[in-house]
Amino acid sequence: MIINHPLLGPRDASEFTYLGDASLIDRPDWQAENASEAFYEYGYLRDNPAGEHQELWYHEAGDRSWLVVTRNTLTHEISKVELARDVARARGRSK
């Protein structure tokens, strides 16, 4: 596969390390009332869609960026690649 890195352009996916669903960005609030349930769902339950999937890849043999890749799990077509940091900020994460 080729991942079109937003800064570096097309790079072989073998340079990257895969983590999983980009929902891993959405780490729950540790002080919330339902924190243990929320962390269980965050840690263990996945949509696992057959189709478009937002997922985290790390450019291990490259610039060490974490990327959010939107990829179709049936065809492997990649429709979007973003820096995970930008996605995280857009989802409201900060410090």
Binding site: Y18, G20, D21, E37, L45, R46, D47, A50, T73, L74
Partner: protein, 416 residues
């Protein structure tokens, strides 16, 4: 129709006119006691044990394509019970015992070959972990042996002992382990279930689960609605897709595992061999092909194909371990979609929906589990309680922390 050597001779002499289809091609009935979704190894085994052991005859297996077309038809055929943890080892040893009597049970030669398996180790830490595992196996009634480097060399002189980056320090052996003819396993279970009256319905895709007031009433399919008192889902890589029809998210990701076979060769490998310093395991089939594999590709996918980096990674492991296979040619590569669970262990359990049962999360180890998985799922479906060797395979274990993590890599499915 019973199979026997006599029968083969008789048919040979009479022009093979008497052979009957191994299974019927029934149209679905409006309602069954139990509908099993998935005509793979586990679904067909479930049907066999439901009918033969648990007396359930009003059963259907619905399969979206042709039976045996999923992972049971695309794996590396290894059968073993060399597990370490309490939740696993009794189950896999139960499976091993079922394998050992399978041919007679099914009246079908699935060519179970107890050629043994050796898991090699290359560091002291690996050795310690294998000792722990071997002891767990023996304490659970299975067989295990520890070989040192010289003993390994004696049994496998062709391995790389002289120029190894990670020298072989020994191996954990299970002599009763081995391989089986994967397609025949599916066909044998199907034939047996069919003979007991189970309807095996091919080309019948489940498109929905009819759930009312928290109870599952049956399955919507491409051949219409099929009612059922109980619905069991055994669809491996498609678990996420099917269970999402019941609104469930699972502790499972679907990943592709590639496997490879070489051209046919005269016998070279006496047993199944697993490399401990790279991603490579191999055995030789009855036809002479080296059947081998390694790690999953590592990304979520439902496509039954992988990519070159893993092909190369596996072959690098093979060449590092046994450089004598260099000139053997890789003939074919294929991929199966694995239901990789969050702790690397399976789930056989009820679901929050009444009448809906789930069997999945087999990761890349489903083949060896086929008989026990079928047996235990049948037990659960028939009796509504878990089989004693499968009590740990609960869906709620991730919430409670009772995970069964043989590799110790935690909640990242592609590491298991």
């Amino acid at each position: 129709m019973r199979y026997s050597g006599f029968r083969v001779i008789k048919e040979a002499l009479t022009g093979h006119k008497g052979w009957k289809p191994v299974w019927r091609e029934p149209e679905p009935k409006p309602h069954y006691d139990i509908v099993v979704i998935g005509g793979g190894g586990h679904g067909l085994a479930t049907a066999h044990y439901l009918s033969k052991v648990y007396g359930q005859r009003n059963v259907a297996v619905v399969e979206k394509g042709w039976i045996g077309g999923g992972n049971v038809g695309r794996n590396t055929t290894i059968v073993r019970s060399n597990y370490m943890l309490d939740g696993n080892e009794p189950f896999y040893e139960f499976s091993m015992k079922l394998w050992e009597g399978l041919e007679q049970d099914l009246n079908y030669n699935a060519m179970m070959s107890q050629r043994g398996i050796i898991n090699l180790f290359h560091t002291d830490g690996q050795r310690d972990a294998y000792i722990r595992r071997g002891n767990a196996m023996i304490l659970n009634g299975a067989d295990a042996e520890l070989l040192d480097a010289d003993q390994v060399r004696n049994e496998h002189p062709y391995l790389n002992f002289d120029d190894a980056r990670f020298p072989i320090k020994g191996g954990l052996v299970q002599r009763r382990a081995g391989t089986a003819r994967h397609d025949a396993v599916a066909w044998g279970f199907a034939r047996s279930a069919d003979m007991y009256g189970v309807d095996i319905i091919q080309n019948c895709e489940v498109t929905g689960l009819r759930i009312e007031s928290g109870k599952c009433l049956g399955v919507e399919t491409t051949k219409g609605f099929i009612g059922a008192n109980k619905v069991g889902c055994a669809v491996a890589g498609s678990s996420g897709r099917v269970m999402s029809m019941a609104g469930m998210r699972l502790p499972i990701e679907s990943h592709v595992l590639q496997a490879f076979v070489s051209e046919g060769l005269k016998p070279v490998l006496p047993s199944v061999i697993t490399y401990g310093a790279g991603h490579f395991y191999v055995s030789q089939s009855d036809k002479g092909g080296l059947v081998f594999g390694g790690d999953i590709d590592g990304y979520n996918t439902y496509a039954q194909r992988g990519n070159l980096p893993v092909v190369e990674d596996v072959c690098e492991g093979g060449m590092a371990l046994m450089p004598m296979i260099g000139r053997a040619r890789l003939l074919r590569m294929w991929g199966g979609v694995m239901d990789m669970s969050m702790d690397g262990s399976p789930i056989i359990d009820r679901t929050p929906v009444e009448g809906l049962y789930f069997n999945g999360g087999w990761c890349y180890g489903g083949f060896k589990a086929t008989p026990a998985s079928g047996h235990c799922f049948a037990h659960l479906l028939a009796r509504d309680e878990p089989h004693p060797v499968a009590t740990a395979y609960r869906l709620d274990r991730f919430r409670t922390g009772r995970t069964i993590d043989e590799k110790g890599v935690g909640n990242q499915p592609n590491l298991h």
